[in-house]
């Protein structure tokens, strides 16, 4: 059975035109494979490209070279070669992503923001709302906050809304960028439980976990990234 994610010969650099065309080489010839149901933790010093790997898989960063094969059922899609519409469809059906920042339309209540992701994943309105409520409950977001827009929430609450949005659609591949940053230990444990349950239902996870306890609790394997050699 082919891997859920296969990266081959991935190069990613940034050309900073506003800095006289300086080139920042972040990933050089990176290859990796993640099996279905496996959790791979990316580790390495700041600036070694951990988040960049996640963003390349999600189709957010455009690599210079290489293949990014993501498997969905019997279909394999190379994210690097895919058209924007295909990437959007792949995100809805397959790729859950928890970023480090919550970026949402102002004025929209927290529960609607979470529910929206379940709707995009194909759930019906009633099911989507029930799932959103369930995951907010699991992440210990007080009920009186559900109907409020998260703009005024604390950092930890906003981060948990972000986690809820990334996990609610129960996609088969989860990309987690520091999902427990700025969370206290009880809330960290809640996130760990959710990730473990996702794995138990067969989800593949690639994550950056700064917190060692969290990493030990969810990761099957650790990949250490080194700083790419400057071109």
């Amino acid at each position: 059975m082919p891997a859920a994610i296969e990266i081959e010969g991935l190069d990613k650099s940034f050309t900073l035109h506003l800095r006289g065309g300086a080139e920042l080489k972040v990933l050089a010839d990176l290859s990796l494979a993640v099996e279905r149901g496996e959790c791979l933790a990316l580790q390495g010093a700041s600036g070694t490209g951990k988040s960049t790997v996640l963003r390349c898989i999600y189709g957010n960063y455009r690599p210079d070279r290489g293949q990014l094969r993501v498997r969905r059922g019997d279909v394999t899609i190379d994210v690097h070669a895919a058209a924007p519409r295909e990437i959007l469809a792949l995100r809805r059906s397959t790729l859950g992503y928890v970023s480090q920042f919550l970026r949402v339309v102002p004025r929209v209540p927290a529960i609607d923001l979470v529910m929206e992701r379940a709707l995009e994943g194909g759930a019906e309105a009633g099911v989507a709302r029930a799932r959103a409520a369930a995951i907010l409950e699991r992440l210990r977001i007080p009920r009186q906050l559900w109907s409020l827009p998260p703009a005024t929430f604390s950092g930890g609450e906003q981060q948990r809304i972000n986690v809820a949005r990334g996990l609610v659609a129960e996609q088969p591949i989860l990309l987690l960028d520091e999902p427990t940053a700025s969370l206290d230990s009880d809330n960290r444990a809640a996130v760990v439980d959710l990730v473990r349950e996702a794995k138990a239902r067969g989800a593949t996870v690639v994550g950056v976990f700064h917190d060692r306890e969290v990493r030990d609790a969810v990761a099957d394997r650790v990949l250490v990234l080194d700083r790419a050699v400057a071109a």
């Binding site: 940034f14 050309t15 900073l16 035109h17 506003l18 963003r55 189709g59 957010n60 960063y61 455009r62 924007p84 519409r85 990437i87 959007l88 970026r103 949402v104 339309v105 102002p106 004025r107 929209v108 709707l119």
Partner: protein
């Protein structure tokens, strides 16, 4: 859903010796929201008006596909056909509501106009539809007989949207829909637009200079500079990993987009 509904190839538009758009090509798919960003004078609005049947391109083609119909060249079909499609299949929300509304006709009359153009003659049904659409864009149906001149800027924008959506178009073109509105009103309009796009499976082309609006509303972005498309891609690709020097300048100039 396997074919685009709008196909543009090699579009140029010049005014005298000034080239406003050069070599623009694009496909728009059902349910897709495409953003066009760039600074003032980059040709965004000209391009939008060419797509919407309002400005005949100097070169190139704009082809539209009505439901269960083949592609038709918007500028080579007859005038009557084009006017019919413009009233039923798509609509443009102008930056200045005065260009998109009849200010001497009641709010209800504005919404009913496109229905009448499409052949509806029954007064009761037209009024009922107008009430329903005013409500849908969060305008108080009790104000149906008022003139739009009495509405605030945000209300006039929403009235323009209702006026177009009543005919169940496949494409809506929006020219700086949040420009000139208070921030709180902008947020409300953004939320409304997002819900309408999702619920009605509309295709939308939105011209904006506000990258924050583009991030929250669009799937795909085209960056224009001096009439040319310098970069395009998924919205978050263009905003988070801009490749062209001009896109990098745009993104880096924004406060917290």
């Amino acid at each position: 859903m396997t074919e685009p509904l709008l196909r543009v190839r090699g579009l140029d538009k010049s005014f005298g010796r000034v080239a406003a758009c050069r070599g623009v090509s694009l496909d728009l798919w059902p349910g897709e929201v495409l953003g066009i960003v760039g600074e003032s004078g980059s040709g965004k609005t000209t391009l939008l008006r060419c797509l919407a049947g309002e400005l005949d391109p100097t070169e190139g083609t704009v082809e539209f596909r009505a439901a269960e119909a083949p592609f038709e060249d918007v500028y080579r079909m007859g005038e009557a056909r084009r006017r019919f499609l413009m009233r039923t299949q798509w609509g443009i929300v102008h930056q200045n509501p005065r260009d998109g509304l009849r200010l001497r006709v009641s709010a209800g009359g504005n919404v009913g106009e496109r229905l009448m153009a499409a052949g509806e003659r029954h007064y009761g049904r037209i009024r009922a539809e107008a009430v329903a659409w005013l409500d849908r864009v969060e305008l108080d149906p009790a104000r149906i007989d008022e003139l739009p001149a009495l509405f605030s800027g945000g209300m006039q924008q929403r009235l323009q949207i209702a006026r177009i959506l009543v005919s169940r178009p496949r494409v809506v073109y929006l020219d700086e829909p949040t420009g000139g509105l208070d921030v709180s009103i902008q947020a409300r309009l953004l939320d409304l637009l997002r819900r309408l796009v999702r619920d009605l499976a509309l295709a939308v082309v939105i011209v904006t200079h506000d990258l924050g609006v583009a991030r929250l509303l669009t799937d795909r972005l085209m960056v224009m500079r001096r009439g040319e498309v310098v970069e395009e891609g998924l919205t978050d690709q263009v905003l988070d990993d801009p490749h062209h020097a001009y896109s990098q300048l745009l993104v880096s100039s924004v406060i917290g987009a």
